[in-house]
């Protein structure tokens, strides 16, 4: 539209023809979407960053800039710092186990079993259910009563959500149960994209099952792995509903995550400025992880 390409002038007739066939629709096509997006996402996010440097209490417009005060408070706040550790541990546990389980399920279901269609539906079904409802179900499954739920099934006597040393892992467990099917279908789509000829060629060359997986399937699963790792990492970092419904951060602060801390700081303690500072830290974690994963994982993807 603007003649920014003046340096690389082309003969007039070529330019005109190209401009005709490539004529883009008017920017008005994007205007309504941009307006809603700016109002609902961009403006609040920018305002949020500004609030992170204020002492706003959420009542009225009365606030003053406090510089890095909120971040200094954060560094000295044991509960908030603990929540960063919890968030990272929970995310790592979810990412590793969910994708491991998802991959195994995908490999199992990818084989031409008689029940594969049914199995796929069963493993995927929890994905479409509200995470809050799944959390309420698992709250009962994790009942400390030795005759009920998981304890009853396994003959154990464990206080899954009440023991501070395992509560976080119990939450990871219910998240994995709900989302493993999601990882599975993405890996399955990846597996279906692996050309049969490559397997046959490897088999003719004498490669065993393990070698075929290591040298044929695994490298070609890289795009699916990228998507899965991104989705589960971002989901893990932002996790709120399940923690809120199952433990609300307890016992003590054992399962407090960045999301629950920023929720409580805002809606329980009325420290809106501090809450948005915590949200900004969460945003930075998400942005950093996304950037690292995209650039690293993309670099090991190969073209089929």
């Amino acid at each position: 539209m603007t003649p920014v390409t003046a340096g690389r002038a082309r003969p007039a007739h070529v330019r005109r023809r190209r401009r005709f066939s490539a004529a883009a629709p008017s920017w008005l096509f994007a205007a309504p979407a941009l307006a809603v997006y700016a109002l609902i996402v961009l403006y609040p996010a920018v305002a949020g960053v500004v609030y992170a440097f204020t002492d706003w209490s959420g009542i009225g417009r009365d606030m003053s800039f406090v510089g890095l005060e909120n971040f200094r408070t954060l560094l000295a706040d044991e509960q908030a710092m603990g929540s960063i550790g919890n968030t990272l541990l929970l995310t790592v546990a979810i990412v590793v186990v969910q994708n491991g389980v998802g991959l195994l399920l995908a490999l199992g279901v990818h084989v031409k079993l008689k029940s594969r269609a049914l199995l796929r539906v069963i493993f995927f079904a929890p994905v479409v259910v509200s995470p809050v409802m799944v959390a309420f179900l698992w709250k009962y499954i994790y009942n400390p009563d030795p005759s009920a739920g998981l304890n009853g099934l396994l003959g154990l006597h464990v206080d899954w959500l009440g023991d501070p040393s395992i509560a976080l892992w119990s939450i990871a467990g219910m998240v994995v149960w709900q989302n493993a099917g999601y990882s599975m279908v993405i890996f399955l789509a990846g597996l279906e994209g692996v050309p049969r000829e490559l397997h046959e060629a490897a088999m003719i060359d004498g490669a065993g099952t393990g070698q075929r997986f290591r040298y044929v399937t695994w490298p070609l699963l890289a795009p699916a792995l990228t998507i899965n790792l991104m989705l589960s990492t971002i989901g893990g970092l932002k996790l709120f509903d399940q923690v809120f419904a199952a433990t609300n951060g307890g016992p003590g602060y054992a399962t407090e995550t960045l999301s629950t801390v920023l929720y409580k700081q805002a809606f329980v303690f009325g420290k809106f400025g501090y809450s948005t500072a915590v949200a900004l830290v969460l945003a930075l974690f998400v942005a950093a992880v996304s950037l690292i994963q995209v650039s690293y994982l993309r670099s090991r993807e190969v073209a089929v």
């Binding site: 539209m1 066939s21 490539a22 883009a24 629709p25 008017s26 920017w27 096509f29 994007a30 309504p32 979407a33 809603v36 997006y37 109002l39 609902i40 996402v41 609040p44 996010a45 920018v46 949020g48 960053v49 609030y51 199992g108 084989v111 079993l113 029940s115 199995l119 796929r120 539906v121 069963i122 493993f123 995927f124 994905v127 479409v128 259910v129 509200s130 995470p131 809050v132 409802m133 309420f136 179900l137 009962y140 499954i141 009920a148 739920g149 993405i186 399955l188 789509a189 795009p223 971002i234 932002k238 509903d241 419904a245 929720y263 805002a266 809606f267 949200a279 900004l280 969460l282 945003a283």
Partner: protein
């Protein structure tokens, strides 16, 4: 052959173990309090439907289903309309500004909504839309637009330009070429957009809790949350409420499972 058989047995065993929570959910919903206390793991004998009747009215599930349906359907219409139009521009424009705009939209995918949560609440409150369907529809349209635009743009870029050009040579405007020729060709990605956004909006919890809590316009997850809080120790009632709350989306999933799974599996290919 024999290896496939062994694998089949193993996978079925895994599926049975995987279904244990679902068995617990359904069997408890069908038991009276006495049975739950005496034999929490055994199947219900005899099964009772009393819990369901009480849960349906106590959790106000009828009105919540209407609220969820209205909010989800209206948000989907707005998302598809705004998203596909914007993506048509973003996929075809070749200026730096256009590319910058596309990147600006993508930013919204990684930005955690918590960052803008409080200013957004203020904004919706100033607009007088807290506790209304309109407020939620506006929220979901905005928050899901980046992802919707991303899906549509990727799809349109892979679509030959000739379709629209042919219509334009015949004298159609961009608007007509898009609505009559291009949009119908977007059906596969529109399906994906529909499924992924519908599942997200239907199940979303935090924002409707904050925006709609106590308004009488609660969505299903918010109603179930309030209901469970009230009947916390009466497991039969709680679980009947959970079954009823989850049933609509599970039924839709079972009816459309092939499309839903495909949508989730393909929707995020960058």
């Amino acid at each position: 052959m024999r290896r496939t058989f062994v694998l089949e047995i193993v996978m079925i065993a895994v599926a049975v173990a995987f279904l244990f929570p679902v068995y617990t959910l359904v069997s408890l919903a069908l038991k009276d309090p006495g049975q739950i206390a005496r034999s929490p793991l055994a199947p219900p004998s005899p099964p009772t439907l009393d819990n369901f009747a009480s849960a349906w009215s106590a959790a106000a599930l009828g009105p919540s289903l209407v609220n969820s349906t209205v909010i989800t359907a209206a948000s989907l219409v707005a998302l598809i309309a705004l998203g596909s139009f914007a993506a048509y521009f973003l996929a075809r424009v070749q200026t730096r500004l256009g590319y910058g705009l596309y990147v600006l939209f993508l930013l919204g995918i990684v930005l955690p909504f918590q960052l803008g949560m409080i200013p957004l609440y203020e904004l919706v409150n100033d607009l007088g839309l807290i506790g209304t369907h309109a407020g939620m529809i506006l929220f979901y349209t905005g928050i899901q637009l980046p992802f919707t635009v991303f899906l549509y743009t990727g799809f349109i870029r892979a679509l030959p330009r000739e379709y629209a050009s042919a219509a334009q040579i015949d004298g159609a405007s961009h608007l007509v070429a898009f609505t009559r020729v291009v949009f119908p060709l977007l059906r596969p990605i529109t399906g994906t957009v529909l499924i992924l956004n519908a599942v997200f909006i239907w199940n979303d919890f935090f924002t409707p809790l904050v925006y709609l809590g106590g308004s009488g316009y609660e969505t299903v997850p918010v109603s179930v949350f309030a209901y469970v809080g009230q009947y916390v120790s009466q497991h039969g009632l709680v679980f009947a409420g959970l079954v009823l709350g989850a049933l609509p989306i599970v039924l839709v999933f079972l009816a459309l499972q092939r499309y839903v799974i495909k949508g989730f599996a393909s929707g995020l290919k960058g």
